[in-house]
């Protein structure tokens, strides 16, 4: 997409912009999290990223019990007996309760932003990108689920001369990839499982699209790093990790793989959204096991790090 077609007023739903990110691409980066994802991975640490539409998150700990929300809600959706405080069936997302919640117990997940607004935020750390060899990473959710917005945003980043990275599940179309890849310097591609049956069972979709798109990305010549979220009992067996590493190696353009150990950092956010945490009872992989998997990946001819770069 040539930059002269840049539409600064294009809009997308963003749920977070995180500055000083140092593990998702080279140098000091700003991460833009786009809302909406085709997958429903049960270990997802950003549950607020899954749905495309805005949501309300209730952080009980912040509530001071002033009950202002109760008084301003026009649709009677506030229920103090509910742990998650909001009755979703009644809530119209008017945002009046959030306005009066000074203590920050009620919060919006996801805001509609223009490319221009996001770029203005990204510009604030321009000096750090330059000094560190960093840049911008689009993450999600699945950033390419908002393909037009993502494309415009990447074009805007390129117009500013920034290094761009996308962190993707690979669940998108070849058409979208071909539009976006010329604006991308690095792709971080998630590969969750090589066995399609298991993939379907846990994630809800076949992995064929991911594998096909991996080859499309490889064909474009854009630098790519494969990332594997290591989930005990799902994909942390030696066979799967070896076959993932072999697949990555076979792509020709991949020489690095990141093993991202499962963590429960997002668990609290399920409560905020009034949802059940689907992976109750699983503990993060041991350091010893991670090291073992790392050696295995390296034996397949790839560089490997635990955690992002």
């Amino acid at each position: 997409m040539p930059t002269d077609e840049l539409d600064l007023q294009a809009k997308g739903i963003v749920f977070d912009i995180q500055r000083f990110s140092v593990h998702d691409g080279p140098g000091i980066r700003t991460l833009v999290f786009l809302k909406g994802c085709p997958l429903r991975c049960p270990w997802c640490s950003n549950p607020e990223s899954q749905r495309r539409e805005q949501e309300i998150m209730f952080i009980a700990r912040n509530c001071i019990g002033c009950k202002k929300c109760l008084n301003v809600c026009p649709s009677g959706a506030i229920d103090f007996d509910l742990p998650s405080r909001i009755r979703p069936e009644k809530c119209t997302l008017c945002g009046k309760c959030i306005e009066v919640c000074y203590a920050g117990a009620l919060n919006t997940a996801g805001q509609e932003k223009t490319v221009e607004t996001v770029l203005n935020e990204l510009k604030k750390d321009n000096v750090y990108y330059r000094r560190s060899g960093g840049g911008i990473t689009l993450s999600g959710g699945e950033p390419l689920a908002q393909a037009d917005f993502a494309g415009q945003l990447l074009a805007g980043c390129k117009a500013n001369g920034w290094h761009t990275t996308i962190e993707t599940t690979g669940f998108t179309t070849e058409k979208v990839l071909k539009r976006v890849l010329p604006l991308v310097d690095l792709v971080l591609l998630d590969i969750k499982h090589m066995d399609d049956q298991k993939h379907k069972k846990y994630v809800g979709k076949s992995n064929k699209t991911v594998h096909r798109n991996a080859r499309v990305i490889a064909g474009s010549g854009v630098q790519m790093i494969v990332r594997v979220p290591v989930i005990p009992g799902f994909n942390d067996d030696l066979i799967n990790i070896r076959s993932t590493a072999n697949f990555a190696h076979s792509l020709g353009t991949v020489n690095e793989l990141h093993l991202l150990p499962y963590h429960r950092l997002g668990q609290g956010k399920y409560d905020y959204l009034g949802r059940q945490y689907p992976l109750e009872g699983i503990t993060p992989p041991s350091r010893g096991n991670m090291e073992r998997l790392k050696l295995l990946v390296e034996s397949c001819g790839l560089r490997c790090s635990i955690g992002g770069g």
């Binding site: 001071i64 002033c66 990332r227 668990q267």
Partner: protein, 793 residues
Amino acid sequence: MAVSKKEIDSVSPRIEKLIEGLLSVVPEVESERAVLITKSFKETESMPIIIRRAKALEKILSEMTVVIRDEELVVGNLTANPRGTQIFPEFSNKWLLAEFETLAKRKGDVFLISEQTKQELREAFQYWDGRTVNELAEQYMFPETREAIGAGVFTVGNYFFNGVGHISVDYAKVMSIGYNGIIAEAEAEKAKSDTSDPDYIKKNQFLTAVIITAKAAITYAIRFASKARELAKSCQDSRRRDELLNIAENCEWVPANPARSFYEALQSFWFVQAIIQLESNGHSISPMRFDQYMYPYYQQDITGGKITREKAQELLDCLWVKFNDVNKVRDEGSTKAFGGYPMFQNLIVGGQTADGVDATNEMSFMCLEATEHTKLPQPSLSIRVWNKTPDSLLLKAGEVSRLGLGMPAYYSDEVIIPALAGRGVTLRDARDYGIIGCVEPQKGGKTEGWHDAAFFNTAKVMEITINNGTVNGKQIGPQTGEFTSFKSFEEFMNAYSKQMEYFVSLLINADNSVDLSHGERAPLPFLSSMVEDCIGKGKSLQEGGAHYNFTGPQGVGVANVGDSLAAIKKLVFDDKAVSAKELKSALDSNFAGKEDLRQMLLNRAPKFGNDNDEVDNLAREGALIYCREVEKYTNPRRGQFQPGLYPVSANVPMGAGTGATPDGRQQGVALADGVSPVSGRDMAGPTAAVNSVSKLDHHIASNGTLFNQKFHPSAMEGESGLWNLAALVRSYFDQKGLHVQFNVVSREKLLDAQKNPDKYRNLVVRVAGYSAHFTSLDKSIQDDIIARTEHIF
């Protein structure tokens, strides 16, 4: 980390033993110096003060116990026991008398004191009744000034009760010409003086005093030589015997004569450093550009094959331990502002030369390694950074930062050099700056900077403005209007400026009273002999002998004032979300029953540290109102007042004395430290905090600004972590920040964060590919992370 680990492992057993000897004892108060100076002063009643001071030092250096500690290679003690403290009754002593019984029992900075010491000190103190610097200064102050101090608007406590210190002398000069050279210089100056000059008598007395103290310094060293020979005689171990004989040879030659080797230069340096701290108890005696003046000696020995790098490093490590042998007892109140036995001997590496060429050398790296080896709080290690600083030095500094010692502190040449030039320092001198104490820049060996002149509570002035010039109902400032009467935000700002104008004028009165008293009662001839132009002018530092003279009082509470101004502007005047009356009443009651209003103040007005121009500009303006007032004034040494924006740890006691503020801060809670955002209110990550802080005017705060950043070790992991840290430093300095230091957060901190989550709301933890605010996590996950942190280091 592999490289630095290897180096840590290579610390010699000697250094380990020296450190163990230092840390295994509880510091103790010693009476020897107090007794000797009192005796001397009784003997010299009829003489001019400058001679009396010189003779007192002569007596101390000739008679005090000299000790050579086991295994040490660089000698020169201040106290018989390691980390002990001498007493300086001539500055003040009544507080100590009152605290004799609690010194060993207090919560921090504990000192033992024996019954015999107490008795000897009581006797000595009697002589000083009415004769101290403190008592004279108090008489010089206006009653209004004392009232403002009493109300907690500012404190000049440090120099009011203690020596001034805060200086760097010309160490290189002593190394290159020796005290014999200084004596010759003083003699020559005497010889060429015009006896008909009306200042002749005073000048001549000063030069005589310089000669007395220089000779006394030589005598002191010779006593160590004798001591070493005596010990060598009875030493069974031939290795140690040779070392003692080597020490004896060193002390027979330096500091009287020019140093001939790296080892002699180190020994000469330490005698200077030690004797300065026996003459006066002013802290922050800062070695400054040690890598610059030591390097020629090192290079000469290395090229001449006289020393190996390993041996030189061990000598350096020995000296580093020695820096921690110096201590100082403070009153209990002051320990809250200066907690943890700090001595602030600031040593800085890197930067540029007076000619504007990069100054990094092998010694710069060796100094960083000495800190890596000893892991002790002294010296306060700093690094100068400019555009031409090699990455290798910055990466090495990052490795040291990663140890979690909070050192080195990073300073920007690109801000400090023009800031000093703006204060009348020549370009060459400005390029040759170093750092005093915490963060105060000056040209060493030429400046009496009086850098730690006061802590001034700008948040208190805000509180007083809201209360129309009153504190607890008592009118102590001008009446600038009831808070409810202001029609616009600008009217409120004008009132704040007027209160500031008034209280800064009292601050000046306090500082100048203390300044004058030091000149009259405690001029320091030994210290003065090593600072340009004292010998030439024939004047002590305390009377204006230095080439450059300044007074630097610190503003505290920058972020609280900025946040408060933003809250008042937005919520009272712009949005009219709360009335002035309602806000005032909530502040008066410390938000009792008004938690929702407090939450509004906290979360509905922008906060400094999040890269938001609206509030950042108000923080800038709030700080400027203080800075512009301060720089209007002149001190008795005819130097300019220059503001700083750093608190040491005074933000804690000052917060304790400040009522609730419109930023949502409750009564008594600590103020923000230095120019850092209020703890926990910078929520947008380190780059946003850095950007906010860099929007302040760091040039006008030429006495120094202080910016603390906390990091979890995982943010600095690996090779890329070091590069990112280096990039962060360079980016802050690109944006004209002056100083930054990194606290790499330890396990202990995380545990504390669990107990006090409000203090750590901004602490971001990183565990494999995902970041989160630590306090937002469930306890079990926090426990996971705490357990894992230990893997990282």
